[in-house]
């Protein structure tokens, strides 16, 4: 892959030749690419011409002005979408129609460059797209004979299960070969680490069971009036041993029952995950406050802890599968990285929202709102 083919659709000659001049000299270099990628520019002065060209040839990228003399840019975009043409579309629009630009971006254009643009704005948009195209190209190349990335979850899972196996096996080999001499005390930290890794592995397996449960049954198949406070109490008592060990106090604020239609199994999985995170990632001597509010149109659950907190950057990632924050503080806390993704998955079956507020070293508040 040495050059990407770019089609510039604009009725102004000056713009077309300007873009051509900029891109002729531009190359994108991405780590782990052998050679930089350059661009080969073709031009169309109307939407009709563009459609003709798109039907005849393959273009990797289309730079599309919205305001054209005949059919509009949006229509060209619609054509590309309806024919499932494999081109990335960048809209070029004047500031006045920014709103439109945002709209078409939602409809499938992957970027837009406001007009007038600087060469740098054009280059950085193209750079991003080029990286996307390149990475996708590489992924396809790597999927040998139809092996699909449907696997992603399974391969993540085996990665996560393999890591502790590798670690424990490594330690056992050292112990077996007496690599640290004959004093058993030398090996104690390795044995402890092995046990911790096995524990973490167990929690992955337990969470996998939850996931299978969720997947194998129909969503919300057991919806019935549930008292959230009642379920919360049960979850809390299961957590007490861990809370006592960490000297974390849990306070449940329920003024009377909070009842709404929900699947009690779902609720238990949700609360168990949120509560146990609030305890696990707390500080010794910390506290967890749970509030259930019965509003007219929804039930609100607030779980606030005084724990280690999560940086803003990391907060974005947490609801994805197998994401765990790796710091010195979290290293010794067993977990699967599945809990929050399970919670999110269940909540998607309900009309609900989950959000988080957190400050490093201060604590985290998880807020769940479920509409009745």
């Amino acid at each position: 892959m040495d050059k990407l083919r770019v089609l510039v659709v604009d009725d102004e000659f000056g713009i077309r030749s300007g873009i051509k001049r900029i891109l002729d000299k531009f190359e994108v270099d991405y780590p782990f690419m052998d050679d930089p990628i350059g661009f080969e520019v073709s031009e169309a002065d109307t939407g009709e011409k563009a459609i003709e060209m798109l039907e005849a040839e393959k273009f990797d990228i289309v730079l599309l002005d919205n305001k054209l003399p005949g059919i509009q840019g949006v229509e060209v975009l619609e054509f590309i979408n309806s024919k499932k043409i494999d081109s990335k579309v960048v809209m070029i629009t004047s500031y006045a129609s920014l709103e439109l630009a945002v709209r078409v971006t939602k409809e499938g254009a992957i970027d837009f460059v406001p007009k007038p643009f600087t060469p740098q704005e054009l280059r950085s948009s193209l750079e991003n797209i080029t990286k996307q195209i390149f990475l996708r190209h590489m992924t396809t190349k790597l999927q040998k004979e139809g092996k699909q990335i449907r696997f992603q979850f399974l391969s993540m899972l085996s990665h996560e299960l393999k890591a502790p196996v590798n670690a424990v096996e490594g330690y056992l080999n050292i112990i077996k070969e007496h690599n640290c001499g004959d004093n058993i005390a030398e090996y104690m930290p390795m044995i402890d680490r092995s046990l911790e890794r096995l524990n973490a592995m167990r929690s992955i397996i337990m969470d996998m069971l939850d996931l299978t449960k969720i997947e194998s049954r129909q969503a919300k198949n057991n919806v019935q009036p549930v008292d959230f406070c009642q379920v919360a109490k049960i979850c809390m008592s299961t957590l007490q041993p861990m809370a006592i060990q960490k000297d974390v106090k849990i306070y449940l604020n329920c003024s009377g029952p909070v009842v709404m239609d929900f699947d009690p199994d779902d609720l238990e999985i949700i609360l168990n995950n949120i509560f146990s995170n609030a305890v696990k990632y707390n500080k010794d001597g910390g506290r967890v406050d749970c509030n259930f509010t019965d509003n007219e149109s929804n039930v609100e659950i607030l779980v606030a802890d005084t724990g280690i907190g999560i940086s803003e950057e990391d907060q974005q990632k947490l609801f994805k599968e197998f994401v765990r924050i790796k710091t010195d503080e979290t290293r010794k806390i067993p977990g699967s990285g599945l809990g929050l993704s399970i919670v999110k998955r269940i909540l998607e079956n309900y009309d609900s929202e989950i959000s988080m507020e957190s400050e490093l070293n201060k604590g985290t508040t998880i807020k769940i709102k479920i509409n009745k």
């Binding site: 780590p31 782990f32 690419m33 052998d34 590489m138 190349k141 790597l142 999927q143 040998k144 092996k147 990335i149 696997f151 399974l154 391969s155 085996s158 990665h159 393999k162 890591a163 196996v165 590798n166 670690a167 096996e169 490594g170 330690y171 080999n173 050292i174 690599n179 680490r193 890794r197 790796k326 290293r331």
Partner: protein, 128 residues
């Protein structure tokens, strides 16, 4: 084991695996400097002296190892780079026979005994 006088830069975000590989490499006679994130490793790639590098593929990012390999090769093209990964088998990504697009010298699957890594490094460094 006699001292080889060769320093390996080892980047790995699994705390235990880092310890284990370091342990094996040191037992084989290497000096080892370690980083437990891509970020840390980037700093070391730029600021420290090493004779070979071993990068875990997936750290903060799915392509951490690739990025590090690229950076290292750019600064020190002659220094051999090994990328270790636990995913190869499951994803069908077969790195061994098609490494033309990433400039690393060797891809090793994790869990392959750490001893083998020491051996491969010696081979890459022309010690054996």
């Amino acid at each position: 084991m006699s001292k080889l006088n060769k320093t390996i830069l080892l980047a790995e975000d699994d705390f235990d695996y880092l310890f284990l590989v370091k342990f094996r490499l040191e037992a084989a006679g290497f000096d080892v400097i370690t980083a437990n994130s891509q970020k840390e490793a980037e700093l070391l790639v730029n600021t420290s002296d090493f004779d070979a590098a071993v990068f875990d593929l997936m750290m903060e990012n799915d392509d951490s190892g690739f990025v590090l390999a690229y950076m290292s090769k750019k600064i020190k093209p002659e220094v051999p780079v090994v990328i270790t990964t636990a995913v190869a088998a499951e994803t069908g990504m077969s790195f061994d026979n098609d490494n033309s697009w990433v400039k690393a010298d060797l891809y090793l699957e994790k869990g392959v005994q750490a001893e083998r890594l020491a051996e491969e490094l010696m081979r890459l460094l022309g010690i054996i």
